[in-house]
Every structure is written in C-alpha cells, then in structure tokens.
Point group: C2
C-alpha cells in the first residue's frame, strides 16, 4: 500500500511556512504522496482569496503536492468545525488517504488530542461553562479557554495547568482540535500528524526570518511592500502570484465587493438576515442598522464585538453574498461533500488518480458542465456545485482588470497540470 | 378657484427646454400655480439620475415650480403607460390640479387625442396588428406605428395619412398619448395642454441653439464638455448641478452599479428572472446567459434587439436591483399611489399646501420615518415607501465620493424649501 498524506490548505498565498510544513510532512512518512484539499476562491476568514483557485493550485503542485481537490465553498467559508469536517470528509472520500498532517502552534498531538476527546464527550459542566462564556459575549477561543480553565480547576476536568491553557487557543490549535474531532468521527483509521508551526504567529504582520503569516504577506502585497513578499514566498509561488497580478486577476481585495455586500444588506429584511448562518440573538437588527454604513470598513467597525469577531462578521457577509442560509448549510453539513472536484494534479498525482478512481466513494469531477447536466446526479450535488460556480462568478467581479470579469470561468478553466521544477518527491 | 397646472418631470438635469416649457405653460393659463410630480433617484430610462432627487427638486423650485412631489419609484421606472398613470394619479390625488401640461413633438392635442381615444377603444383589428408587430420583434413605437398605419389604410381606422404617422411615435408623443389616456380614465376633469418641444429632439446629442436633449447634456457632462452644459442649462440649475458634483454626489453613472447588477444576475435563477416585469418569452434565459458579461456595456449589447431596446433592458435591470417583480408592480398599478411625498416647495407652494391638505385624498408625507412606523398606515403604503427608501439607499452607492454613500438619506434629508431668485410667478 502506498502512503498518502492529506493536507487541508488555503495557500493564500503559498509561502515558506507552507513549504516547511510539506517538507516536514514528507520527513514523517518518507515516500508518501501528498493530497491537498484547498479552499476555492473564498477563504475561511470570509475573504476573497488573493488570487484564484487555479493559480493557487498551480503553486501547490509546483511545491510538491500531487493532487489538489477543491473544498466546496459551502465548507470553505464556515467556522473551524464545519471547515474541518468538510475537509476531512473530502480526504476520506478519496479512499486512499491514510495520514492527516496539519500545522499547529502546539506542535504535539497529545494536548490537542486530550482536549479534542474531552470536548467530544461533551461533559455537562464543560458544555454549561462554554455556553455561559459565549453568552457573556466572549469570542469562541476565549470562551473555550475559560470553560476548559474552569473545569480544569475543579480537578474533575482536564490535566492542564492554567499556564498550559494560557495562549493555547490560537486559530491553528483550534483548527487542529477540530481536525482531530473530525478524524475520530469520520475517518478513525486516518493517522493524525502535527507539525509545529515555525516563525511568525497567525496574527503577526512582521516576518520572522524567511517566514511571515499569510495575513502579513497579503497586507504587504496590498501595500506593494514586495521586499517582505520576496523574502517569504518561494520562487514558484511568487512567479505565479506576480503573473496573476500582471494579468489583472489579483491581488483581489475584499473592498471590491463592498457595493455588492452593502446593496444586499440594504435590500434584505432583518427576518431574511436572521436566516444567515452564525447570525444569532438579534444580530440581524444590528446588521440591518449597520447596512447604512458608507463602506465595508465602517460596517465591520460598527458590528465588531468580542463575540462577533472580524472573521465571523466577514463570514456572515459571504453567506449573504452567496445566498447561504442556516438551512442550506445544515443540509450540506449533514450530507457531506457530494463530489471530488479536481483543480489540478502533477505527473505523480496522475498515477495516484487511477488508484482514487478505484477507491473513491464520491464521483471525481474535472468538468462541472457535464456534471450539473447529468440526470443521474442528485439535486444536492448539483446545488453544491452551483454554489462553487456562483462563488467564482462573484469572485471574478473583484478582479482589478475589468476585461477579466466574465462569468462562467468554472466551465472554461482546464484542470491544472504542473510539476515541481526540482523534484521534491524523493 | 385658483388654477393649478400639473407637470410630470424628471429634470435630469433641468435645462432650457424645461424652462421654455414652464414659461409656455404659464402663458397658457396666466396666474396659474405649478405642481410637479418628479421621478426620484431612478428614471424612466432605467438609469440613475445624474444628481439626487432633492437637488433636482431644488432646481425645479428655483425655476418656478411651486411644489415638487416624488413619483414613487414603483411608477417612475416603468414604461410609458405605468409611468403616466402613476404620475396622473399623483396629481389627481392632490385634489387641486385642473390642468395637465406636457411637452410633445406633435405640439397639438388633436392628433395625440385621436390616437389616444382610438387606442383606448381597443378595436380588434388594431389590437391584433399591434400584437403581431410586437411578436415580430418590433419595438413598441415601431409596432404602434405599423399597427396604426395598417388600420389607417383599411379606411376603417384613423384619419391619418402615412406621412402624418411617419416619425410620429417619438418618446414624448408616446408619453403624451399615455398622459391623455390616463387623464381620460383617472381624471377626466383635468384639462390637457401640450407645448411643442423646441430645438433638439429627444435622441439628439447635439445642441440646437440654447436647447439640448437631457441625454445630450448628460453625455456632455460625463465627457466634461462643459461648454454645452453651460449653454443649455439655466444658471440656477447649473449651480446646483455643479455644487452636487463638487460634493462628490454626482454625476452618477449607471456603470457604478455594474457589479451589483451583474452579481444579482449571476445569483438569480432563470425562474426568478422570469418574474421581473417586462421579461417575456424566454428573455429570462438570455438574461441568465448574458450575466457572464464582464461589464454592463457588454451585457446590454448582448441583449439588445429591436424589441428589447436599451431603455427596456435598463428598466429590467432596475426591477432586478430593486426586487420589483410582476406581481408587485401589478399590485401597485392596480392600487395607485398611497401617499403624496413632498420633496420641496417654494413660498408660493406653501400657501398651496394648505389647500392641498384640505382637498387631497392621499396623506401628505414630509418625513418617511414616522410614516412607515404609523400603525394606521396600510401595509401597501409602507411597502411603496420602502421601495422609495431602498431606491435611495442603493442610489447613493453610486456617488463618486465614498464618504457620501451612507444609507438612510430619506430619513435625514429635510424637505427642500427654495424660491426663484427672480420672481417668475407674475
């Protein structure tokens, strides 16, 4: 049996930290293949990706990933739990992934695993404390921290000191916990591996050596501070990034969607806004009121609280943009992915695809057009694909070059075939 | 009894042709008051107005109109019949308008009246010929021309020669016919007057002396050819226009709404698009296909036919923008206006308002906020006002200055009070 490592990625953009992660993953399981499931044109932060999914898939292939599948947008724009589940289900559905490798600040499985198992058991005290903290208006990471600290102090909870829990609930650790929960539930035979993240933290905007956070790199790019970009993004990825920018297809900025989002907010009734995922406890009235903001920046500033973080608010706006409501997402979360959409593969990935064709328990899709026209495909699968296509059709309206804004790119763009310049596979 | 002349206007922008019309109207009925019912922020051509409704109302007051009422947007963006009916019903509802004065290329009531009466009687032959010509794909004016020519030739129809009918169905003559039909049906005691339009034709882009069409003036303004603007727009109106532009609240261009409209088209199913007014016979599929266009210009170019003229297509896009469907418009057309929204009045208009308060059979609205909160106001009236408010909330997103794009302007903007610099009333 061939070893296959699954990775869940956004590569927005692909940088040295990602390269380090792939190198380390290969060291953990020598000779293994790498399959990535990647967000499409919108990310988990509720933002448009810097460059489109095909360009980012190309960067991934050139950096040593063998196949890139698209994480359907209905999962890609969800908070940690829905995102992680959608991704793990996608990897599981290939039928050949036996490792899941993710980065984390913890760098060790043990504490993440302990917390994941504890959370999954849903002990009443923990559940109560978590709800209480959320009700008080804490953000999810802060509420998790407080709830676990409280139960730890009772002695009946977790074997962690306050020191260990302090600063533990970083975005990547939280995602890691969700991956572990998802693996246990969906794919218990998949072996989890974690790699300690190097250098700059998730929120750090400064580079640390040749590593910077994707957020820092995006910000530098918008400010045209190419020094940081050149230092922290490997050559292949950088070339693709600059090629896309030269073509006027990037960098895509969320402010480009301000008019569309403000129009939708101004058109929508509070009742309609209340149907959006993650909108609870009267947020719909605050959204409706803030719809009068002259721009997106003011809108977010008006709405931001400890509990409604920027990323959560941005996700809510993307749900609105894509017409995703609570009911739709519940259905997709229950049903899981309906297909394996191939964005790209390398020569090495091509061999792997033959194995996937035999083992996968979801249809492989290279061309969405015949897929959505196929009378044998379920309405749910078509709807899921419809959202992916719509996500691209709206995304391209944010391209700096007006000539590039035509819809239907999902029907035209070929699957990306690309290999690393220097072999990284041995 | 005081004589009151009603005029139906867009003043986009107020120009010398409009001034001429007002002067002539006053000559027809010496000493009469003038009441205008004016489109708000969107016009009958399906375009955003160059500057907002309050600024245009101010220009009207300074040019000698005594009171400006807003034509609710649900009528303002309809084709000639719905537009004319909504406007005549609004004037009728004041209870004090006894003349309706409109411009026309014909310049005489007789031929307009004959055609209006003939059309209203709906003789089977005419009806059949009109439907036939529309089915063949002719535009409404061309189809009207062909149907009336055909029935004229039978001898059983109209007393018009082919020469008279040739070039008769200009936009203003068609509107004039609709005004006459509306007056007969809604307000038979209102006396119609028509003034021959001077100088440049509706579609002419060149000025003829000090007269240019509003289309020509708008085009000149966007091209910054201020020579034509200065020559053809009277001082008071020009000052207001330039003041708005200096504040970054104009000139508003339809291309500013391209992303919003393209997004809505890309999000909408053909079934949804089929519910839009004026969308018939499979146009929904063509709309859905054209939604892939990279910009509005290409979109219109793709869709334009003899029957689906630019203005008709633009109106359809505005219906989409404002969420107006066939059912909603049918209701509003059936019900008629629910209120008299005052945009502005002069000192002379103030006295008139006292008389209107006694005679009007619709509520006078100066402040929309208490109106929509009033438990005694009908849901239909609130919905109509909701569309007017939404129309402004979406309109302001097209302001060149981003700081001016806040929503809720209908709740904040005071009623305009302004007088002509030089008395024009005697």
């Amino acid at each position: 049996m061939v070893d296959v490592i699954g990775v869940v990625v956004e590569y927005n953009p692909f940088h040295n930290g990602h390269l380090y992660h792939l190198t380390k993953a290969r060291e953990e399981v020598p000779g293994a293949h790498l399959i990535g499931v990647m967000s499409g044109n919108w990310t988990q932060r509720g933002e448009p990706a810097l460059i489109n999914k095909w360009a980012r898939a190309e960067a991934a292939l050139q950096s040593g990933i063998d196949i890139i599948f698209e994480l359907p947008v209905v999962y890609a724009v969800q908070s940690a739990e829905g995102f992680a589940r959608g991704a793990v289900k996608t990897l599981e559905a290939t039928g050949i992934v036996n490792y899941l490798c993710f980065g984390s600040e913890a760098g060790q499985l043990e504490p993440l695993q302990t917390i994941a198992s504890y959370m999954e058991a849903e002990p009443p005290l923990f559940k109560k404390e978590l709800q209480l903290s959320l009700k008080k208006g804490l953000s999810y990471p802060a509420a998790l921290h407080r709830a676990l600290s409280t139960v730890s102090r009772t002695g009946k909870g977790l074997p962690f000191s306050a020191e260990v829990l302090e600063n533990f609930f970083t975005p990547n650790n939280i995602l890691a916990i969700e991956y572990l929960k998802a693996v246990k539930k969906i794919s218990p035979e998949m072996v989890p591996l974690t790699i300690k993240r190097r250098g700059a933290g998730f929120h750090d905007l400064q580079a640390s050596g040749d590593i910077a956070s994707a957020t820092g790199i995006r910000r530098a790019l918008f400010k045209k501070e190419l020094g940081l970009v050149n230092k922290t993004v490997p050559g292949a990825s950088r070339e693709i990034l600059y090629k896309e920018i030269a073509a006027g297809k990037g960098p895509v900025h969320e402010e480009k969607y301000a008019d569309v989002i403000l129009s939708l907010l101004r058109r929508s009734s509070p009742e309609k806004l209340a149907t959006l995922p993650e909108v609870i406890e009267g947020m719909e009235s605050r959204l409706k009121k803030a719809a009068s903001s002259p721009d997106l920046h003011t809108l977010i500033k008006e709405l931001k609280t400890r509990r409604y973080t920027r990323t959560r608010l941005q996700r809510i706006l993307i749900y609105l943009l894509l017409s995703l409501n609570k009911e739709t997402l519940s259905y997709f979360n229950e049903a899981g992915p309906h297909y394996l959409r191939i964005l790209g593969f390398s020569s090495r990935g091509k061999e792997l695809l033959h194995r996937i064709k035999t083992h996968a328990f979801l249809p492989l899709v290279t061309r969405p057009a015949p897929f959505i026209k196929d009378p044998l495909i379920s309405p749910g699968a078509k709807q899921m694909m419809h959202y992916d296509i719509l996500a691209t059709d709206l995304y391209v309206l944010g391209y700096p070059n007006p000539d590039q804004r035509a819809g239907g790119e999902d029907f035209r763009h070929p699957v990306v075939k690309s290999d690393p310049a220097v072999s990284m596979q041995e």
